[in-house]
Symmetry: C3
Subunit: 134 residues, 3 copies
């Protein structure tokens, strides 16, 4: 498939999951009585809030690394690792919403997926820069 | 106009608005006596802080969706919807700064604009993937 | 060097620095006894937390502006200014971790670098739009 269509679809799927996390924060505001603009005061709310906030914190790492991997190396491999990231983030969301200790497995999965994309892209780019300089 | 110049200009205009929101947070720190690194303690400060933070939360949804829409479908339409997003965000900023309840109209406008871009791009990409697989 | 390899490498270097900042937040959680999901309660922790959060707040401004500058104007110049941004962010991290007042120099450097990229790209794009419309 041409034109990075796979990576683009995985990108929008990840953004949809991220949107769902934001929607859950809005719902948790009323459920746990934490009206805007407060973002703390109830631990159940704070866990739902942090699922969304932590995913935002990782989005630039994940999305930029996945696209650079796709652009400079392999579209299909980047998209496949991107699906692993989404699975990790779903486990992170369901675990962390239950209790803070249950966030580790999903977090590790998405972290490994991001590392593969970031260091894979970086290695390929440094290789290209060396080749170009010779 | 070639080369996605319109979408690029709308992108930088949105980032300038986002920069203004960040500048207002700095100013609100002194006005309401909330020195760094604190981010809470005064409701007037917290609303100004949340205008900026919520816009950051939506920036990946908006910018990535607008660019994918522009790259895979229509540059001019993506840029036009991007202008609607900016208008919604300005209303959100001025409303939320006044009171938490006055943030809804602007929020709805920017949310609809983002939805059009995200689901438009996703629909087009799934269509392309099906075409490619046939 | 072709294909924006320099800007891509600077992008990943900036993301690695941002990753280190996130890692320091996790370490500060145990050091200062601020367990998840809390993000406040200890000023030493809060400064380490805000180093990471403020950098996240600036990443879209910096990365998008650098890439638009590289795509529409000069790859090498964008990458060079990107290195200045990274240096400013390192000074910001080490300063702010020590005390809130020591964050200003690094913050100013990365802010100037971002401004050069944002207004440089915007100026070039508006010029292109005018040329295209004539």
């Amino acid at each position: 498939m041409q034109n990075h269509v796979l990576v683009a679809i995985v990108t929008l799927a990840a953004l949809l999951l991220y949107f769902v996390m934001g929607f859950r924060v809005g719902r948790a505001r009323s459920k746990y009585a934490v009206p805007a603009p407060a973002i703390s005061g109830n631990a159940d709310f704070e866990r739902v809030f942090r699922v969304h906030a932590n995913t935002l914190e990782w989005l630039p790492l994940f999305l930029v690394s996945m696209w650079l991997f796709a652009l400079y190396w392999s579209d299909a491999f980047a998209a496949a690792v991107g699906v692993v990231w989404i699975v990790g983030r779903i486990l992170y969301m369901t675990g962390y919403t239950r209790e803070a200790g249950a966030r580790s497995a999903g977090f590790a999965i998405q972290g490994l997926a991001t590392g593969v994309l970031l260091f894979g892209a970086l290695g390929k780019l440094i290789w290209m820069a060396i080749q170009g300089a010779l």
